[in-house]
Subunit: 140 residues, 4 copies
């Protein structure tokens, strides 16, 4: 059985800081995408192979709450779970932490919708949906 | 009386697109910051002068909803309003549009908190709060 | 006759600063692309229309020299010239300045190569090359 | 004896791609900074500790040559060497490769200058220079 929480770690890049001396907030969405890519990989089909099948998963909603700051060279951990799978949508939740102190930096949730090559909302193929459900925390 | 809605326009940069051929979603937070900077400027004190006074306004929450895609070289318009001012927090709302078609691309809301030079939450100086209230849609 | 130098202005975004309090150096390449887009537009065919014809112009070389720093909210001016046009390559030169003080911040040169849809180097269509030559400082 | 070449690996982020379907060229400068941070760490003093001593190392020149494209989710390897150390400058060279195929994607060289807290060029402290020389390929 695949893991239901994926954990990925990396260090803060200098380019990600701003003049406040901390990580600029938009970068957390990029970090969540790293967690999401990693979590999808655990189901056995990397996201890039999904796109080759003509399905793109686009972010349609995001909610972010920031608790503490990340700084240059900090080791960051993103814990990702897939909390909802429907025929056209996926909801991923993320906790972003300082990997060394364990401090929680941000909690994020994103909703993704399934699009066809023309950018129209479309149902995911049954096989893909089944695979995604297999790594969901609460499979629909 | 200052305008209560600020409008700023710019073109999509190539660097902002991704391999889907549309703008990567995290860039909308950067665009909202452009709108916010512009809106704060209308109250008579640019944001960089606020930071020189030892107050930083950090994003503590963000909620984003995506309606349509932006593409390279599209002319983008961000309409920004300041919808809430308390002693320690500000809420800005944004509508991101395609400036040529008028199509709504995203609606975003961000909450900012006032921090002192040590990164602790602090009340904004009365004068700053009064100025911000003067450009708020619904001054507290 | 089209202008041989294009000038574009914009303000530094908060996201473009780093913890040194100045603009992170990689952003200058993005700024040069804004200047390049603008310069290509003056020849009458926007770059996005060139891509629709199946030609992409990819950066193959870049040389950058930094003279002074840019800071948040500074008004930046990029002056772009097209200094060389061959069947397969273009060389653009850029001077990045602080628009208010006139101070020179960076000088950059980029070489672009013409690629077909499969990513292979290809000669530019004669018509495109002629148009580009018309806005070059020293038409080949 | 410390290693004279540092090697760091990471995967291409979706945000780093552009509408050509490949990595946007400015990101290679960010990747080189990851290699540089890693290489400096091998000398025993992380870069963030250098900044705490009041010295910042700012990029003053960069030269980049692109050989092949990187794509989303590719595993990237950056090999970094420090090829010159003077009292005020450092030259780092980088080879960016596809870690799985071994294909060379880009070769980059950056010159860094030592700045004091006011942004003026300054000689590096002797101890710092000695440490940097110890990880240089060709110590001055």
């Amino acid at each position: 059985m695949p893991l239901r929480v994926s954990t990925v770690e990396f260090r803060v890049r200098y380019a990600e800081t701003d003049q406040m001396g901390v990580v600029y907030h938009a970068n957390y969405l990029i970090w969540c995408e790293i967690g999401r890519t990693d979590h999808i990989r655990t189901m056995g089909t990397p996201y890039r192979d999904i796109e080759k099948q003509g399905i793109t998963l686009a972010v349609s909603e995001a909610a972010m709450r920031f608790h503490a700051s990340a700084r240059y060279d900090d080791l960051i951990r993103v814990e990702t779970t897939l909390t909802s799978v429907t025929s056209r949508t996926l909801v991923f939740d993320y906790v972003v932490k300082n990997a060394e102190s364990g401090e929680r930096l941000a909690t994020v949730s994103t909703t993704l919708i399934s699009l066809d090559p023309d950018g129209r909302v479309t149902a995911m193929p049954a096989e893909l949906r089944a695979k995604l459900s297999s790594v969901a925390s609460d499979a629909a």
